[in-house]
Symmetry: C2
Subunit: 203 residues, 2 copies
């Protein structure tokens, strides 16, 4: 991004980046709808309106495509979450509960569904397992970092770190509970109660 | 169980029940190890040392076998959990944290792994989806009932019900976090903190 690019090469790079993004978005939608078994590079290429050859130019293997897709969408969502609460803990007091609700929202919807399919497939496939474990470590750390920042948690306070971690574990469990049925009404009540408990624990 | 059984029929019934149990245990192990795609009635029958015909006599369809298997093992674990804390909330005060730890243990290990494969497969298969949704409602209610009982939670107290539910959601999320890597050390710290928060909320 920082390098000087000759003007005549820019449009080609833009097109290449747009193709890559279309592939990544199609890959997440495909995983969420059809699971790992139904998600191949060909299916995604067709969905994105890209030739199979072009798709393989961007992502040589199936594992490359789907781990990149989950990471890309996770990054997009992190950016959106930070933009939603630009003030973070500096915002008005009530913001901590709004932040808690927004964190839980990260674990419902197509991205979580896609990631879940990838995790479960990875638990039975060694090659995919190593890639997804590494991906999960990165995404998990970033989510924790954002949560600590937006909740204004002081991690030097005993129990603060574990309170935030447990809240994110709960959010993940709520995402799983929402997989087969619409669990929104129950989830709202649970989140309201634990956000209040988290608020107290964080001081 | 309560009916009088002629002595000459007993051994055959015992054998039939033993066969059924072997099939159910083999089905859970198979799901946990190979996922839904690799779990068929034939594979389970072979693992259990039972003919395919005998397996189909007990469980006419693949859906019958695997939903029955997850339900059977969940019931076994509920019984074991109740036996572990016969006094429940009447036990010494420190028991509430021990109960919290035992509840979390329900969501690690082969049963959770098997159930997770079944859930995720069900999210993309309509026929299986209806069965698993019904199963999950039953198992989820029973787990909540045991948790309330063993934790000695008074559900008429505002927030108590949601505190217990959120704790079980967290336990489910911890199970998911343990799928690809051994998360035991982090989990112990998170559970200690959340058990303390739960203890305070339940009074």
């Amino acid at each position: 991004m920082g390098a000087v690019t000759p003007a005549d090469r820019r449009p080609k790079q833009d097109r290449s980046r747009a193709t890559r993004q279309r592939l990544l978005q199609a890959a997440v939608a495909c995983l969420a709808e059809h699971g790992w078994a139904g998600s191949t590079v060909s299916v995604v290429a067709e969905r994105a309106g890209v030739s199979r050859g072009a798709a393989q130019h961007h992502f040589p293997t199936r594992e490359d495509l789907f781990t990149a897709a989950v990471e890309y969408v996770a990054e997009e969502r992190s950016t959106a979450l930070r933009a939603l609460f630009p003030q973070g803990a500096q915002g008005p007091r009530g913001d901590r509960r709004a932040v808690a609700g927004a964190l839980v929202d990260l674990f419902t919807g197509p991205l979580f569904r896609a990631a879940l399919h990838l995790w479960v497939a990875a638990s039975n496939e060694d090659q995919l397992g190593a890639r997804v474990t590494e991906l999960e470590t990165r995404v998990g750390r970033e989510t924790h970092r954002i949560a600590v920042e937006l909740l204004g948690a002081d991690e030097s306070r005993p129990g603060a770190r574990e309170s935030v971690q447990g809240f994110l574990d709960m959010a993940r469990g709520l995402g799983l509970a929402n997989l087969l049925t619409d669990d929104a009404a129950r989830r709202d009540r649970v989140v309201a109660q634990w956000a209040a408990m988290l608020d107290e624990a964080l001081g």
